[in-house]
C-alpha cells in the first residue's frame, strides 16, 4: 500500500515537473492562438509581415481619449510594468500580464477573446484588429 502511494506521488511530481518545463517553454495552446491571429492578420492585410513587440509595447502604454473615460489605457489596471501585478478599478488583483511572471497567460482562447473583446472596447472604444492583438501578445510573451 505504502509503495503504491509512493509511486503515485512520484508520478504526480514528475508530471508537475514536466508540465512546469513546458510552461516555461513554448506552449502549444498559446502557439495556436498566435497562429490563428497571424492567419487572420494576413487575411485582412496581404502585406502583413509578422507581429512586432515594439508596436505591442506602444499599444500597451498608449493613452486613448476615445474609449470609456475611466479606462484611458491598458496601464490603468495592468500598471505600466507588465511584470507587476495589476488591480481592477474595483480592487481585485490581476495577475501580471508578462508570461514570464504568469506562465499560463494567453493559453485559453475563450479567455483571450473575452478580454480583448471587453478591454479593446473599454480603452479604445472599438474592437482590436488581429494585428494589434498579435503585437500585444508578442510583447507580453517576450516579457
Amino acid at each position: 500500500m505504502k509503495q503504491v502511494t509512493f509511486l503515485a506521488l512520484t508520478t504526480c511530481l514528475m508530471a508537475f515537473a514536466v508540465s512546469d518545463l513546458r510552461a516555461a517553454e513554448a506552449n502549444p495552446a498559446r502557439d495556436a492562438i498566435m497562429a490563428g491571429l497571424g492567419a487572420e492578420a494576413k487575411a485582412s492585410d496581404p502585406a502583413f509581415a509578422g507581429f512586432s513587440p515594439q508596436r505591442g509595447q506602444a499599444l500597451y502604454g498608449a493613452k486613448s481619449t476615445v474609449g470609456k473615460p475611466d479606462t484611458p489605457s491598458c496601464t490603468t489596471c495592468h500598471t505600466a510594468d507588465p511584470t507587476q501585478m495589476g488591480q481592477t478599478r474595483a480592487g481585485k488583483e490581476i495577475d501580471a500580464m508578462a508570461v514570464s511572471k504568469t506562465p499560463n497567460r494567453f493559453t485559453d482562447p475563450e479567455k483571450v477573446a473575452k478580454w480583448f473583446g471587453r478591454n479593446c472596447n473599454s480603452v479604445l472604444g472599438r474592437p482590436c484588429t488581429a494585428a494589434e492583438k498579435g503585437d500585444f501578445l508578442t510583447y507580453l510573451i517576450g516579457r
Binding site: D70, P72, T76, R89, A90, G91
Partner: protein, 384 residues
Amino acid sequence: MTINDPINDGHVPVWDMPTRIYHWGQAGLVTLALVTGFLIPTDWLNIHVIIGTLIAMLLVFRVVWGFFGSEYARFGSFIFHPRRVVEHLNSVLERAPAPHLGHNPAGAVMVTLLMVVVGLMLASGYILLGGTYKEGPFATVFSYASGESAGSVHTLLAYGLIGLVLIHVLGVWVESRLSGENLIRAMVSGVKRQTAAAPAWPPRSARPLTTGFVLTGIGYLIAVGLVWSLRQPPAVPRLAPDPIYKAECGGCHWVYHPSLLPAATWRRLMTGLDDHFGEDASLAPERAAAITAWLTSHGAETWDTLPAHRLGTLDPAGPPRITTAPFWKRQHSHIPPAIFKSIKGGPGACDACHTDADSGRFSFRRIDRQHRLLLQPPSPKATP
C-alpha cells in the same frame, strides 16, 4: 441593629447598599444609553447594546431585590392606594408634604413607571436587535417587520423616559426643598432623618442568600436560553454564490450578495454589461443568462435582512450603484473619504470592512475597525 434604629444623630438607614448601587448605576447607564441611542451612528451601536445589557442585568437584580431586599427596597413597601398618591400630590401643592421614610406615594409611582419603561425599552431593544439587525438572542425569532415596529416603540419610549427622568429629578428637588432634607444625598449615604413614624409592621431585613439563589436560577434560565439561541441555524441563511457568478463577476470585484438589489435592478444591470460602471463587461450570452437567473431568483425580495429591505430604495431610473442608495449614503455619511480612498476598490468593496458581507447580513457588530481606522497608504499600483 434593625433598620429603624436611630444612628446617634436621629438618622436611620433607609436605602441599603444594593439599592443605592442600582439607583446610581441605572442613572448613569440610562443616561449613556440615551446619549448613545440618539447620537452615535449605527456602526457604533454595539456600545449601546452593551450598555443595554448592563441595564438589563441591573434591572433583573433590582426586581429580585424588590422581593428579598431590605424594608424600603421591597415593592411591598411602596404600594399605595391611588387616593394616597392624589393626596400626596395635593400636599405638595400646599407646600406641606407628609414625610415618608421610604418612597412617598408619588415617588413610588415614578420609580415603578421608570422600571416598567426601562423594562419595555430593553424588550423592544432586543426585538429590534434580533428582527432588524439579525443579531442577539432573538435573531432567529423576530422578522424584520417586527424589528422595525419594536424600533418605533423603542424610540417613543426613549422620549417618554427622558420626560419621566426630568419629572423624577424635578420631584426630588421639590420634595427636598419642601422637606428640608437633601434626598439626593440620602440616596448616596443611604440614611434619612427620622421624621416619619416607622411602619406599622416590623421592618424586614434583606435576605441576600435567597436573592443569590433566585439570581442563580434566573442566570441558569438565561444561560439555557442563550445556548438555545446559539444552536439555532444562522439568522441569515448562508447561500453559496453561483459558481458562474462567482467566477465571472468575482474576477473584477467583490462578489456582491444577491440580497443587495431587487430582482428588477439585477435584471437591468445584467442587460447593460457593455457599459458596466464605466467598463465593458460583456459576457457570453449563455453565461450572462445563467447569472441573471441566479441573481433574480435570490434578489432582495427573498431576504429579511436590513440591506435587503433598505437598499431597495435605490432610484429605479438611476444607475444601479448601491453606494448611491439614500440608505447607504446615510449610513456611511460620517466616514471620512480618506478611509474609502485607502480601501482597494473604494466604497464598493463592502467586504473590506464588513466581515459578514458575504452572508448579506451587514451587522453593525461585524465591522472591521482595524481596517477602517488604520489608514493605509493608497496602493502605488493604482497609477492613473
